[in-house]
Amino acid sequence: MGAIVAALKQLDAALAADPAFVDALLLAAKLRLADGAEYAPMTALRHARRVRLLEPDLPAAIVTEGLARFVLDDSVRARGLLERFLSLPPENINPSSRAAAEEALGLLAARRGDVDEAAQRMERVLAIRPERAQTHYGLAVVADARGDLVAKERHLEAALQRDALLLPARHERFLLLMRAGRHEEAAREKRILEVLRPLRDDGGIMFSDDYAGRARLWGDLAQLLPENLTCREMRVRELAMARDHGAAADEGDAALRAGFASIQLVAETAFAHARLGRAEAARATMAHLARCNVANGQQLEASLQREVERLLQLAPERAKQ
């Protein structure tokens, strides 16, 4: 999340200097259409519109404006733009954008009751992005529109296997179980939702300074979803943000012992130890990076090691404060 904020800051600065900087406009639009704190679809639309004024036929601009209008529920114009995008020569369309356009058009078709078109489009998306949770959620929406609850449940399961924290999929699964009379399963989903919702809902705790509160919720969620890595990562992170470095280190160590491993988990745990002046523990934690699939491995590891050493040097000062 911090990387997106930093990137947008740079992009906004570039655009302040050159409002016609097309690449910056497109990237800023894309980042502002992504889920998260910087989600700002109206601003994304303005960026895309500006590009289209400068370069009306640029494929990236057409699809970006189309997707912005889709999330803003401007369905007629979204449909027109996205269909136009997909009619461009294939060499002008990258697979990721094609999938996004097909998915949006599929959901629009489902919404207006054209289930055949919806199903066809979602199958095309599945062929391009089979590992994306949102793709399977979209298939569930289409199955629902067709009245096929068996397929709906199957696709929701597939979505949640890929992203256990995908709130719309959790919510729909809960409702499906309730209506099917499967109350025990529904009760478990309800418990997950009651914890997950405030962590995903910008009306709740999500953007507050209550790091300790969020850490508690991530801990509750980790117990409900014991296989989920993100819960562990986020709990360690929020404990660190709450300056409870001892708890962050303990939680991180426990997660690593349990077999979880990711760059974020290793780094946050190592940093927590470092902030407490625990040099041996911090450096030993870094060894877990070997279990992570790291692109630019050596470079990243070196960067993280430097941060660990920097924190270790600061630690005695913090202890005095």
Binding site: M42, R170, F174, K190, L193, D201, F207
Partner: protein, 559 residues
């Protein structure tokens, strides 16, 4: 074809015989405020500190306070906050007596006002003596004004002896006979914990005071709602804790009385601003203690389809798709679709906001008051929504979003999908206002619903329904057995022209409003109503057959 003004000018080019006339306004809804003599301006008491209550407007209640057979109007008024100069501004709530061809301000004469910042008024007959009282929902508590006009010519403040002990931000109230013992219990919806002495600074500080604006609900904690049982003698007992309504800390802005599970008793939907909605299913046994169970999440109407709570404000319900169940409609904030929870039967709801056609056109607007009404009397219910933003700097910070916003009419295609009406709806729909409360009433007993709108910090507006009368109608004026003489909670189901319709008498209305309690049905091209059945709040039923059209039918509950 010449435009009317030019045609008139040419026609009057010769002297004598021509008197100046303003062309008659056209459209489905025509602003008749000036002609009616109604003059009320809402004052939000703004003093420069951006106090949050200033954004919510005042309400409107339609009631026959003097029992003379026509409907009068009550408007809730704000109060000055620190820094507000009250000079030359009228901060009284106002009661206007309907004198047929004009409205007369009788506020002072009958004592129908208080000095508090009033959000809304509920005109239920709390003491069952046959006339509507006024429960004022204020910033700071509630005030109950008992209607003693017939006996003493005035309203009497009976708050102290009523048992109502509400404090804090009381946004709205709903009357319903939850325990089916005959009298009206009371649910008071609360908004947030708010201290006017410690106003927060919200907005873009870096850009200076010009970008200071009103805080959103996220800055504050929710305040617990309250439930009062009516003890039958004009007194209430607070049963909030034992029932559990005070547990969920929502931020209530709207209440809906509805029999959601079609089991004959009254349930309650609470629309909460940015926290999950509530659906209190009534599990009370007749005459026994009140038992409510919160089931919104299980029922599927607590949050939107994406699993996230919306900024829910005004709320109304209607059977939009003719399947016998009532959908629940809730207005929301910009970038959120107005929400339609489609009833799937068996107590389950599906978020059908976008599929219904109601969600997409609302994206740029902040909706408040909303009312289902059969505008064209074709037998299905259409929808009127008033809009108006709450962030007074929105046009600075979000170009493309307006502060003052137009109202919207959505026409039902007959299958529960809606289309947005165009300019044929009338000139008012093109105007931009800070729309808040919306009350419906048949002001002229002509079988169509007219509207009263209370805009925030603006004059109130009366809209007369002038939709061309191509279709038939019938209305029901239900007289329940005392003490619930208004038959709040009663349901009428009828069949006409091959279509079955249902309406309920609700002890609340949309956002900050109390509406005409009579039930009006458009019946399209049907020649008569084949049958109509009244289901009374205490369970009894009255069946009527072969009813002629074009009139109100008074139906009395057997004692």
């Amino acid at each position: 074809m010449l435009r009317p003004a030019l045609a008139f000018a040419l026609a009057c080019a010769t002297p004598a015989g021509c008197t100046e006339r303003t062309p008659e306004p056209t459209g489905w809804f025509v602003d008749v405020t000036a002609r009616s003599g109604l003059s009320f301006r809402h004052e939000n008491g703004a003093g420069g500190e951006k106090q949050m209550p200033e954004i919510f407007g005042g309400g409107v209640a339609v009631l026959d306070y003097d029992g003379d057979g026509d409907l009068d109007l009550f408007f809730a008024q704000g109060a000055p906050f620190p820094g507000c100069s009250p000079q030359d501004r009228d901060f009284r709530d106002r009661l206007f007596r309907n004198d047929g061809d004009r409205f007369t301000d009788v506020t002072d004469a009958v004592g129908a006002s208080d000095a508090d910042f009033t959000f809304s008024a509920a005109a239920g007959d709390h003491d069952g003596d046959g006339d509507p009282d006024l429960l004022l929902c204020n910033f700071g508590g509630v005030r109950l004004l008992r209607n003693d006009v017939a006996e003493r010519g005035r309203f009497t403040d009976v708050t102290a002896e009523s048992g109502l002990r509400s404090r804090g931000w009381c946004q709205c109230a709903a009357y319903a006979d939850f325990d089916r013992d005959g009298d009206l219990d009371l649910y008071v919806g609360h908004y947030v914990v708010y201290d006017a002495k410690q106003s927060e600074w919200c907005g873009d500080r870096q850009r200076g005071d010009a970008y200071r604006t009103y805080c959103g609900p996220d800055v504050f904690s929710g305040e617990p709602d309250e439930l009062y049982r009516n003890d039958g003698n004009g007194r209430f007992t607070d049963v909030s804790g034992e029932i559990g309504v005070s547990a969920p800390l929502g931020k209530c802005l709207g209440l809906l009385i509805i029999d959601a599970d079609d089991d004959g008793d009254t349930d309650l939907f609470v629309s909460n601003d940015s926290t999950p909605n509530l659906l209190w299913r009534n599990d009370s046994l007749p005459g026994g203690p009140i038992r409510l169970t919160e089931v919104s999440m299980d029922a599927g109407c607590s949050v939107g389809k994406n699993g996230v709570a919306r900024a829910s404000m005004g709320v109304d319900a209607a059977d939009t798709n003719g399947d016998g169940d009532q959908e629940i409609f809730v207005t929301t904030f910009t970038m959120e679709p107005n929400t339609l929870f489609r009833s799937d039967g068996d107590g389950f709801y599906t978020d059908w906001s976008l599929e219904s056609g109601l969600g997409e056109p609302s994206r740029l607007w902040v909706g408040f008051g909303s009312r289902f009404l059969d505008i064209d009397r074709d037998g299905d219910e259409d929808l009127f929504v008033v809009n108006g933003h709450v962030t007074d700097t929105i046009e600075l910070t979000s170009p493309g979003i307006w502060y003052r916003q137009p109202s919207q009419i959505f026409l039902n295609r007959g299958d529960g999908r809606f289309t947005l009406a165009g300019p044929e709806a009338g000139a008012y729909l093109a105007e931009r206002h800070l729309g808040r409360a919306l009350a419906s009433w048949d002001s002229d007993d002509d079988g169509d619903l007219d509207l009263v709108i209370a805009n925030n910090g603006e004059p109130a507006v009366m809209l007369e329904n002038r939709t061309p009368a191509r279709s038939g109608w019938i209305g029901f004026d239900l007289r329940g057995a005392p003490p619930n003489g208004a038959a709040i909670g009663a349901r009428v189901t009828l069949r006409a022209g091959g279509r079955q319709q249902v309406r309920e008498v609700r002890g609340t209305c949309s956002y900050n409003a109390w509406c005409d309690l009579r039930l009006l049905f458009g019946v399209g091209t049907a020649a008569e109503v084949e049958w109509a059945e009244v289901r009374w709040p205490r369970g009894g039923r009255t069946r009527l057959e072969h009813l002629s059209l074009g009139r109100y039918v008074e139906v009395r509950e057997s004692p």
